[in-house]
């Protein structure tokens, strides 16, 4: 049904999306917690920065990444000299672009869920002998779990759909940065590529749907007896 080239594209997309979302998750959770719970100077600015990729044209995000992570960019030069690592034209760069684009969605989903936690439950846990950390791990985090799962799904779906920032930042290299959307775009440029476009497009839809169904199942399994939904 799928050629080995197409399987390769799917595998690469899953790798890029998976790494992007898993690596972003702790950062996104920390940001969501900060924005939901803490009052500090610059909070509005941080909120704006987190949401920027949602409103800025993706090509601009890609260009900013190029400037920052290029061989002469401030971050790129540092990564190169300290770790000998470059993200340019690599799948890791595609994962970074996907992560930046997914970040606002992930932060939003988790922030809503954190804001919905009854903070008095954390107080109750403290009076029962829980330290602030223990209360976080046993009360706050489990209660925020639907939001975390929603963030994983939305972030993953956004990541495997990422196009503009990726192609600008890491180009369109077969086997390295050519994820599903880039492959679809490339196939569209080639005469006679319609069959491949159809297959890859259907595959995109199937992947997104599977992610949604899987997360709904996870949430229901985790909270049997309670009425909860991801979206």
């Amino acid at each position: 049904m799928l050629s080995s080239e197409e399987w390769g594209i799917v595998a690469l997309s899953l790798k890029v999306g998976g790494v992007a979302v898993l690596a972003t998750l702790p950062i996104a959770f920390a940001l969501a917690w900060l924005l939901a719970r803490k009052r500090f100077p610059g909070r509005m600015l941080l909120d704006g920065l987190v949401h920027l990729p949602l409103v800025v044209p993706p090509v601009v995000t890609g260009w900013l990444l190029l400037v920052a992570f290029g061989p002469f960019g401030p971050v790129g030069r540092w990564l190169e000299s300290w770790f000998g690592v470059s993200l340019m034209f690599r799948w890791t760069g595609a994962a970074l672009a996907a992560a930046i684009m997914a970040l606002p969605l992930m932060v939003r989903a988790m922030r809503l869920s954190i804001e919905a936690i009854d903070r008095r439950l954390e107080g109750a846990a403290r009076t029962l002998g829980a330290s602030a950390w223990h209360s976080f791990w046993t009360i706050s985090l489990p209660l925020a779990l639907p939001g975390v799962l929603a963030a994983l799904v939305l972030g993953f779906a956004r990541s495997i759909g990422e196009f503009g920032a990726t192609i600008t930042f890491v180009s369109n290299i077969p086997g390295e940065t050519r994820t599903l959307p880039l492959a679809i775009y490339s196939a569209l440029q080639v005469p006679g590529g319609e069959a491949m476009v159809t297959r890859l497009a259907l595959l995109s839809v199937a992947l997104s749907l599977a992610a949604l169904v899987a997360s709904e199942w996870l949430v229901r399994r985790g909270h049997r007896g309670q009425d909860r939904h991801v979206l």
Partner: protein, 206 residues
């Protein structure tokens, strides 16, 4: 075991303060809504920091003289007005939450004893959202008792219950006072309730 409490705290444009000593039995803080009764319990529990004063229970200073113990170190069982059970844990796990965190040497009640004492054996595998108000309040009391407390704080534990359930829970509270001999600091605005339960009455004005 005695309470020696003298606290003051500004909340917005008003000041909440109380000063009393109380011995064993049930000490009722009685006053109209808005007198800051819950805030006083929260200060004793460590959930709200007094601006000044001291909180001593028995020979332990919980607050004052440069001491400010975090809530988890105060060994106080707190029964909230609304139960405040953890919605993502079954009744058994709610009951054992504080029990597992308590120093084994401090524990004075086992799960089975608490379950028998409160008659909640049939609820252990239920989720909190499926409990009636009276059942939830029993579980909340059990959770506080199993935390190995040296005293109990109760914030209008009867206010969300109908008459029959109130009678039930009042009997439970009397048994905690008389059988378990646990000192209780009890907040209420209901005169009849306080007259029946209180060993000592502290009146607060609004």
């Amino acid at each position: 075991m005695s309470f020696d409490i003298d606290v003051e705290r500004r909340l917005g444009d008003r000041s909440i303060g109380v000063r009393f000593t109380a011995g064993a039995g049930l000490t009722a803080l009685f006053g109209p809504s808005g007198a800051g009764k819950t805030s006083i319990l929260n200060m004793v529990a460590g959930l709200l920091k007094p601006d000044r004063g001291h909180i001593r229970i028995g020979d332990r200073t919980l607050f004052g003289d440069g001491i400010d113990l975090p809530p988890e170190a105060r060994r106080i069982g707190y029964v909230f007005q609304d139960g405040r059970l953890f919605p993502h844990r079954r009744v058994r796990a709610n009951l054992l939450y504080g029990h597992h965190l308590a120093d084994p040497a401090d524990r004075w009640m086992a799960l089975d004893e608490a379950v028998d004492f409160l008659g909640i054996g049939h609820l252990l595998d239920r989720w909190p959202h499926g409990l009636s108000g009276g059942e939830a309040q029993r579980v909340a009391i059990g959770r506080a008792l199993l935390r190995a407390p040296q005293c109990l704080l109760m914030d209008e534990p009867l206010s969300s219950l109908d008459a029959a359930r109130r009678e039930d829970i009042m009997t439970v509270i009397e048994r905690i006072r008389d059988t378990l001999k646990l000192p209780i600091l009890y907040v209420s605005h209901d005169r009849a309730e306080v007259d029946r339960l209180a060993t000592q009455l502290i009146a607060l004005d609004g």
